[in-house]
Amino acid sequence: MRTGVFVCWCGLNIGGVVDVPRVVQEISGYPGVARAVDYRYMCSDPGQQLIKDTIREERLDSVVIAACSPGMHEATFQTVAESGGVNPYRCEIANIREQCSWPHQNEPGKATRKAVELIRAAVEKVRGDEALSALSIPVTRRALVIGAGIAGMQAALDIAEAGHEVVLVERLPHIGGHMAQLSETFPTLDCSQCILTPKTSEVGRHPRIRLVTNSEVESVSGYVGNFTVRIRRRATYVNWDLCTGCGLCTEKCPSKTPSAFERGLAKEPAVTIAFPQAVPHKPVIRAEACRHLTSGKCGVCEKACPVGAIDFEQQDLLLEEKVGAIVVATGYDLHPKAKVGEYGYGVYPDVIDGLEFERLNSASGPTQGEIRRPSDGKVPKEVVFIQCVGSRDQENGYPYCSKICCMYTAKHARLYKHKVPDGQPYVFYMDIRAGGKGYEEFVQEATDEGVLYLRGRVARVFQDGDRLVVFGVDTLSGKKVEIHADMVVLATAIVPASGAKELARTLKLATDRYGFFSEAHPKLRPVESLTRGIYIAGCAQAPKDIPDTVTQAGSAAAKVLALFSAERLSHSPTVAAVDEELCSGCGVCVEACAYDARTLDVRRRVAVVNDVLCEGCGTCAVACPNGATRQKNMARSQVLSMIDAVVG
């Protein structure tokens, strides 16, 4: 065994805490170490050259790099090892930065000791590493996109335009997401539908996009390049193959209940097309609101339909799709009403949230775009906008910034002022965050147009006659403020879409503490999840505006296309293996495997491994009562000697 140990200073990141020369000295005499050297930046070109030169000079058969976390540079150093002539699976990383120098900055002596022991453990591991070569697996060049808001549509279009099929799954009956609810968009004030509908139409007619609406992903199995997805298409009770979208059923339906699309500000029939530009332009029957489905009476729509498309007997449909990559673009919800009691949201009808204001302002909304308050339909003359409701609020909400509220509040206040020139908008804010192209100028124009900004928080909102009293404080003047308003608009925090947590479990993806999907690296891998082949885009990852969402969706699509650029993918060879001499064919490993990668060869009475299905978790190796299964390059003997190295 001839192992080379390469200790990185990482400038002062490691070298400022860990006594690198001492580490080199101590490790030099360790059994199996042919040579130990240090260098200021091992990942730099000269550092990599040093590794290659040393491999040649010392005829090394394995290397240990003591540097940053394997998450950062393991792949870099494996490639270096390989180009120097060492099998890449005989390259181990000792993480002496993230897990040593950085968290032990004030204890250099102990950090140095720890670094030596971590390196020893890596030397012990590499001693038992087998020379392996990557496995090759086929790629199904079709993608699944979950969520058809602007993020999902953009990702689907980019992938489809590049020539690959896309299955686009949307929970609602129509696509477009929250953007379909918006009236105008900042910072240009162009109408949301006008920029959205070209996209929704394109998605709807694209020959390579299979649109599956009113549906949810129920289960996902498989692995990168080879996922099997089961999708439940909920019954719409309308046969869309027959339906022409004429709308007669919706006209005749006698059951009217609050519309989710209109955020409860208007009612809609039980058989409904949510909005005029909806794609697909086909109605669904909302079972909970339908008189026929709840009580068996009625059936007016069935009689009205000229093509016999109404089908009360329709059942949910289970679809199975094979895809090679998945983009998660499930979007957001707003901080729930129940949680902002101090502002009377959900109690006073004229306290509304941002999306409700969008509907009031929308030409296709409940007031045809006239700003009229929900309670009595009067045009409000004084409107108070409150920012940071639920966001930047450690006690009652979430500590994070919801990112888009400063901008959309400025937009709301300006749109209001444009439509009600003699009205007075007030904005309570904590700070104005207007980073973005043309954003600061947009907010500036709001103040120029007469929007009154008050820096401070609102303590309470309560009803007084037909008006709302807003108690707040202006922290710039230090004075208490009391405003009698006709309407209050709350900029409530963006939160992960309902069901995101369950989807995360289905996909086995990590979420952050708020429930947003976690990216593989906060800066450098912002659209990849930790699971290979699954990508994230839009507000599913964190609050963001439309330009950022479109950018991220395009980036996720680019990652998918890179994956699809080859016919086969490489799969890690550090999979389970069976010593058939020891195997009794008991089948415990088969039970332990979560991937169906372990099966019994009944004829030979031994357990076998399907290398391509094996994810290398090592669970079956522990389960094996005979020690017949081992995880390649993480064998029991390797771990035991690593323990010796750190405890000894």
């Binding site: 968290p103 022991e117 995360a504 978790c617 522990v622």
Partner: protein, 143 residues
């Protein structure tokens, strides 16, 4: 350990690659400071931690063993963390039978975003092990 030196427990930590190891990385990236008593060994899944590893570490003289895995329902490998939890429950019973205090073995769910929780866990475990005193097995070996 010199006689005048304060006892500092040694902790061997088996950290799953996807959650706790990444959480420990995050603690470092965030420069959250925690005691250098811990020796992480990266495993792919907490479900691949053989109870034999824990026994070996304790018999070798480690004062404590931490096994870190993904939260229930979040295992990258579907259910490895549940398997680990069951195995460790059985192991605890055996340890006590053999006169090794099972409080020396901790199993914790720490996600990739919980750097601060990882640091706190190491701090708490260090304090708890200090209170328990050195692993008696260590004295046996030295003798």
């Amino acid at each position: 350990m010199g006689s005048g030196e304060e006892f500092e427990p040694k902790i061997v930590a088996f950290l799953c690659n996807w959650c706790t190891y990444t959480g420990a990385d995050l603690a470092g990236v965030s420069r959250i400071q925690y005691p250098p008593n811990v020796r992480p060994i990266r495993v792919m899944c907490s479900g691949s931690v053989d109870p034999m590893y824990i026994l070996k570490a304790l018999l070798d003289g480690a004062d404590g063993v931490l096994v870190g895995g993904c939260h229930p329902g979040d295992c990258h490998y579907v259910s490895g963390n549940y398997k680990a939890r069951r195995r460790l429950a059985v192991l605890s019973a055996i340890l006590d039978e053999f006169g090794i205090d099972s409080r020396r073995v901790w199993f914790r769910f720490i996600s990739a975003s919980e750097g601060a929780l990882f640091a706190k866990t190491v701090r708490d475990m260090r304090d708890a092990l200090k209170a328990l005193g050195p692993n008696p097995a260590r004295a046996l070996w030295i003798a």
